[in-house]
């Protein structure tokens, strides 16, 4: 019977992890899975199941309370393999997992990974004009003289998945975080506008 979907559309496409793992021999250890949303990246992202622990089914099974499972995987995200085995649990209810068929597994296992080039981010940037003025005035009140222009230390969010790192002392960053509009990715949007 063909399905007719009603309601809001979703980006997810696939099954929950338990739906896949619970129907496989030995809980699918050694099999490959992937998340459908990560297919948006040009680099390959997939996971190999290493270990599975089952979790109890919810008391009242519904679309809002789907069964979860604890799975340890060897994770490859955007062409970069994680050094350690990664546990999955809280996101396993998402209906977005796809099992890779056995005949395609070789393609993934033999894949020559070409990770995306690492971004080296600057350690500091300029202060916003008003704050800079404030710092100068504060120094003046205290009777100090600033030898060089004050720089704002940039705070980055760091996660296992991030494809960037902060430049070491004296290293030249390959990305600029400029104050203001910066260099646009899509210059066509700024036609007729003067960019500093």
């Amino acid at each position: 019977m063909p399905f007719k979907y009603i309601g809001r559309t979703t980006d997810f496409k696939g099954k929950t992890l338990w739906e896949i793992v619970g129907n496989l021999k030995n809980y699918g250890i050694g099999r490959y899975i992937k998340r459908n949303v990560f297919e948006r990246y040009p680099e390959p992202s997939f996971m190999k199941i290493v270990k599975v622990e089952t979790l109890p089914s919810p008391l009242e099974a519904s679309m809002d309370d789907l069964r979860k499972v604890k799975v340890w995987v060897e994770k490859t995200f955007r062409g970069r393999k994680f050094p350690d085995v990664v546990p999955l649990k809280s996101a396993t209810y998402k209906s977005d997992y796809v099992l890779i068929p056995k005949d395609e597994e070789k393609k993934y296992s033999d894949l020559k990974l070409e990770p995306i080039p690492e971004k080296i981010l600057p350690r500091t940037t300029n202060f916003p004009p008003l704050l800079k003025e404030l710092i100068y005035r504060d120094a003046e009140v205290k009777g100090e003289t600033l030898k060089e222009e004050p720089k704002l230390k940039i705070i980055y969010k760091e996660s296992m998945q991030s494809c960037y790192r902060v430049a070491k002392e004296g290293e030249t960053p390959n990305v600029q975080i400029a104050y203001g509009l910066g260099t646009p990715i899509s210059p066509s949007l700024y036609q007729g506008i003067k960019l500093k």
């Binding site: 009603i6 309601g7 809001r8 559309t9 940037t125 916003p128 704050l131 704002l152 230390k153 940039i154 705070i155 980055y156 969010k157 975080i177 400029a178 104050y179 509009l181 910066g182 646009p184 990715i185 899509s186 066509s188 949007l189």
Partner: protein, 209 residues
């Protein structure tokens, strides 16, 4: 009020003047609460997904990422600079010493105020007691006068009653009273005009009035 400071004057003059308050309606300031649910007419509406051109999406993402990074950095800078935790003088002894110093100063001011207030308070209480005593004396006098007046009134009433009691019909005088009533019948069956004159009809015996 005669004692209006400059600041309170300025507040009064800068207050918003609404000429006809009944013509204004207050603006609803918050959204409808979540527990009221989706409106009936909107229950089955499916909002279309926004379609953003690729280049615009990338540019917006870049700008937003930059913005968030910068804001995070500025917030961190301000925290490190102004938060008590990061202040150079943030050792516990120093903070306690400062606190005690401040407390002693405040305590001194408070004691001074208390003493000033104490003089005023004692003065006020003394005045109040005097006033109360005066008041009580006045009330007592009034009460005495009132009692005296009441007694006089009561005695007068008693005197009148005693006088009236002479005309009362007692068992001894009952016979005589009956005799008198029988011999002197009274007929009130007459009319009066506006001036109160009795108009005796032809049927009435004037001797019985």
């Amino acid at each position: 009020m005669n004692v209006i400071t400059n600041s309170s004057k300025s507040v009064i003059t800068t207050a918003i003047h609404i000429p006809f308050p009944q013509t204004f309606q207050s603006v609803r300031w918050a959204r409808k609460p979540r527990w009221l649910g989706t409106a009936k007419s909107k229950l089955f509406r499916i909002p279309p997904r926004p379609v953003i051109p690729k280049e615009e999406e990338l540019e917006l993402r870049r700008l937003n990422n930059n913005y968030r990074t910068q804001m995070k950095s500025i917030r961190n800078y301000l925290t490190e600079r102004y938060h008590v935790k990061y202040l150079p003088s943030s050792n516990v002894e120093q903070i306690r010493e400062d606190f005690e110093k401040d407390f002693a100063q405040c305590n001194e001011i408070n004691t001074k105020w208390n003493e000033e207030i104490k003089v005023l308070r004692e003065q006020r209480i003394a005045e109040e007691i005097n006033k109360n005593i005066e008041e009580a004396k006045k009330q007592l006098n009034e009460q005495i006068m009132l009692d005296k007046k009441n007694l006089e009134k009561a005695e007068e009433e008693v005197r009148l009653e005693k006088e009236a009691a002479k005309a009362f019909i007692t068992p001894d005088t009952l016979e005589a009273a009956i005799e008198y009533a029988v011999n002197n019948p009274v007929d009130y069956n007459y009319a009066i005009d506006m001036e109160g004159n009795k108009i005796i009809g032809k049927d009435l015996n004037s001797s019985k009035l």
